[in-house]
Subunit: 350 residues, 4 copies
């Protein structure tokens, strides 16, 4: 098969590193260009010692360096707003783009401005962006030139939530409470005291209150795909592990004992979503290194007001299904390839 040349902009952060690892094992995509912000000019192995030759000897280009004509696909793993600028340039040059930043996840520039506190640099591009939650936007992704790769928290929350919303099984008046826990790689690779080993090790803390940026994204697509206005109260925590994300959804609804079957059926043909058998709950270790989302349901019975209560636990690897894995899944779909190509189905254990 003819190889498809790709570029990765923002190659030296954790999502960039993961893209490199996945794409270099991919039978169709070829890494032809690596761009970086602050590390431009250095050789890749100086910044990412885990990469082997010949890739290790590639030189990092500036983030705005011109892209060769034969590059067909660009992954942008840059900070928000910087990503939008790179996306606009790549689209103008006729490339397809998968953007791992938040810049194209919202349909409206106003929501983006509210969530991120900045004016969108290229609002005219928003209408052509497809929200790349693969299990729900497969067709649109296949016909798109610009895919907005979902956030890690929204991915872990929307996958279990959407089927329930579509089936009308959640109390519409409730506030959906999401208590989420992320490994430290979710905070990025910048050198901050609070992210030092000795500060993060043996510690867990909440952050991002009163309203984390990802809440807008969750609510927008719970409505946009689930078809029902949803109010989410979200508390993320950071904990001492490198990668992994677990979201605990505290829910009220109807016929909670049918939820497991509903989810199982809905995702029966989705290779990367696994709904666990009755009585089992997932762990982040069970998905570590894989592109899977594992989902478990626990029914709690009726509370004192007569409402049925349930807890759903959803686990992903934040750098895989939560970022770079889903980006490659999107790329596979976009180019008409087998959706699972070069994407691990099994976790690394231990």
């Amino acid at each position: 098969m003819t190889m498809i040349n790709t570029a990765i902009l923002g190659a030296t952060g954790y999502t960039g590193a993961e893209l490199i690892r996945l794409l270099d094992q991919h039978p169709v995509f070829h890494i032809a260009h690596l761009g970086a912000h602050s590390q431009a000019g250095r050789l890749l192995h100086e910044v990412l010692p885990g990469i082997n030759d010949p890739l290790a000897s590639m030189r990092l280009q500036a983030a705005d360096a011109p892209l060769a004509d034969d590059i067909q696909l660009v992954f942008t793993a840059l900070p928000h707003t910087a990503a939008a600028t790179a996306v606009a340039a790549a689209l103008a040059a006729g490339k397809k783009v998968i953007d791992l930043s938040a810049d194209f996840r919202h349909q409206s520039a106003d929501t983006y401005a509210t969530a991120y506190g900045v004016t969108h640099p290229h609002p005219q591009l928003l209408p052509q962006a497809v929200y790349g939650l693969c299990e729900w936007h497969h067709q649109a992704i296949a016909h798109s030139n610009l895919v907005a790769n979902p956030g890690c928290y929204p991915t872990s929350v929307l996958l279990p939530l959407i089927p329930l919303l579509q089936a009308g099984l959640l109390d519409s008046e409730q506030t959906v409470i999401v208590d989420a826990k992320s490994g430290t790689s979710g905070a990025g690779r910048s050198a901050k005291t609070e992210l030092l080993y000795c500060e993060a090790n043996e510690s867990i803390r909440a952050y991002g209150l009163p309203r984390h940026r990802h809440v807008w994204e969750m609510e927008e697509w719970a409505q946009g795909i689930g078809g029902q206005t949803t109010h989410i109260r979200f508390v993320p925590h950071i904990l001492p592990m490198s990668r992994g994300m677990l979201s605990t959804l505290h829910l009220n609804g109807q016929r909670t004992h049918e939820w497991l079957d509903l989810l199982t059926q809905r995702y029966a043909s989705s290779p990367f979503v696994r709904v666990l058998p009755t009585g089992q709950l997932p762990s982040t270790k069970g998905v570590q290194g894989s592109n899977r989302c594992d989902i478990g349901v626990a029914c709690l019975g009726r509370n004192h007001r007569g409402e049925e209560e349930a807890v759903i636990v959803s686990c992903i690897d934040n750098l895989m299904k939560g970022a770079s894995g889903q980006a490659v899944q999107n790329a596979n779909i976009m180019f008409g390839l087998e959706e699972t190509l070069a994407l691990p189905l099994h976790a690394q254990w231990p």
Copy 2:
């Protein structure tokens, strides 16, 4: 000052080990007897390599070995039901007892039977037990012969909750959602595959659903001390750190902007409860190795139903304020000593 001889039964688990460490540095309490279940007959250092001589050379007695007459205080850190048996024997021998098991935390043998699935071996002792949440039962503890040391999860939840309940600031109809996270030492020291380093490392998972045993304890004392019937939905998680516990309380109520002041005032004279300034949330690292409970409040504003929402985060070291530290605090109170004696106020950092 005359030393007070004490015994520790169940000396080789994690709470027993922590009791040994704390009591050996105590200016008044003296460790005169160490009892153990399966390790009886061995020398202490064979089981706990971190203990120094001369204590390291003490021989572990059987859990039911007779206690010398001059022993005034017994700490029982045994499994439930085994603890009750040891407690009954110690009381009969005229000792004071602080029980770290769940056996005397409930006022009714029926609740105990429901929560633990066994018949209480000594229900006649329940009326004389005092629930040892030091900040709320100080007087009763001082006059008691039997203190039931609170569970780790209930301690972290009740301390922030009680003042709000007493002030009538929580919506009485709500289900209080508690999403809790515990270090692995909370699961004890028994050799199970799921607790192996390679299985627990780099992993988080929920457990204890649909209803963890500690919920009965939380609800009983939220009512018993807080004075208001409280419905709690509780989801505990285990995460890759040795010690530490963080409970996230998702709450609806009135005048949430006053909560921080209320808590600050209520605990102004409690040396082991620290209410953080506005805008700060605690971490488990901030309390690791100390006997403190750190509490932070985040006000989220009004939701779509007009209710005020808030999140409270509460952190303890599960082996200190969550177990052995609070046990020593109880012992200090019971014997009329300074409450803070031999109890660290500061965390080990890092």
Copy 3:
């Protein structure tokens, strides 16, 4: 290409789990049979939650269950002596075998008996076994029916040592001091107190003294391949990480400043050995999840006796190049496939 059916015996330990993960992504080898000791009869996902369907629903067979006729290759990841029995049966049934135990790593049953303290159950098979250090026995492996997969420590030590021995650059009278550090998965998956998260976390210790079993293997093949009698003093340590192995070799020799070039040239065509540039030393993170061995050399100059001193640091992932990765590499060679098939060249970062 026609698939080659394989069996994995001892599928539920850490090396078995890693074999499953690697082989299920392999374009040629197909997992047709899973055998296990104590877990026989269970479904795979009950024991290894990280494995996805359809493999997850395979039932584990007894370790001595008969193998179907169309199985061509058997991986034995069983305890020593149990492995030899399974190997003998598989060979008798006409299968090729790659044995991950220690049973066929020694050329003499006497050495085996000395190192392992048991009589070899099938000494008659020793002559046909090939020691599967891929970079040195490629031809023999390709023509063998029985490959003894090397130990993790010997792999990390022999790869840097052999070229220096062959070139006669090491002082022949010295004792080569190897100070090695292994992640906890090297101790296996059995439930022992000392391997609990809370015991292994935040701790490092030495073990295996005075003479670890792997020393015989190192010395035998340093002589057997390196061509020079070698005396090794070996101290292994276990440290708080799941996987990864670093061996530090303290050496005296001649022309130490040429060692880096020699190693670089010797391994120039070995895809899984990377010799780092001058001034760089490897980390286990740089090889985690990959099948690579990374090697760095530091020249220390002449000591007070006029001898040249150098330190070599060698890193592997103990479950990959140290066990299951090298086993798959051996299988690739054995069946005339591309050596790198289905084997990661890059580390997972982070």
Copy 4:
């Protein structure tokens, strides 16, 4: 007893934080002044969230702020050369000083210049400095105004080595090989990418080659106290744990089977050195949070040249006996107090 006022300069690094924790529990020393480099002007709890009030509300002074007249003792935990300047000022103001930097560990300004690559700012003070290895310089410390607190690596190496050197039991011609492993706190609290949780977690690496600064200190005092010229080859490693240090000494000598007895006798009256029984080796967990050094000896027998070989493993908590704990021990000695005052004898487990 009258309290002794103390100052800590460099209060916000890890050794400063540990000094605060230890001194605030001390019955005699009182923390009257906290100085800091970059954090001057902030309140302590903003930088160290684990410290409780009232200490938490102390404001950090500039490192060169004047010290009140009633301050009798100054701990300097500043970077080298900055420390010397602060020491000179404190001595001039009539204070006693315990310096945790390297500035006064060497007897000669030339050695210091060679090891640290800078000219000593105050060489005239070197003659009055006492090397504060408590177990060997007790008398001199008691009469000194300036104690140079030993480095962490030298402490762990010299304690087991000195008795053997004094007894003439080591082959004098050998190179003593020390392979050491340190927790990440040893690298300090500055925000560097390589010290981020995600980079340091699940990784071990060697550093500091060809010759780490601490080698000069080890060799100087092996000679200075042990009385024999000693050649040390030293390779330190950093590993994924917050605190703890293990040094493995690879040795040749005479009568190795007597070493354990010799060490046991020599340290019988040293409360902070524990020599383990035959057959036992220490772990860093066994000393974590304590001020102990645990030492184990393994005799390996005679090698092919007829020399007796042995391995000694020595463990300390790098922030306790390796830094702040030994500093408080020195302070206790300096002021004629009980040597163990406020210093933990037992490890935190887990």
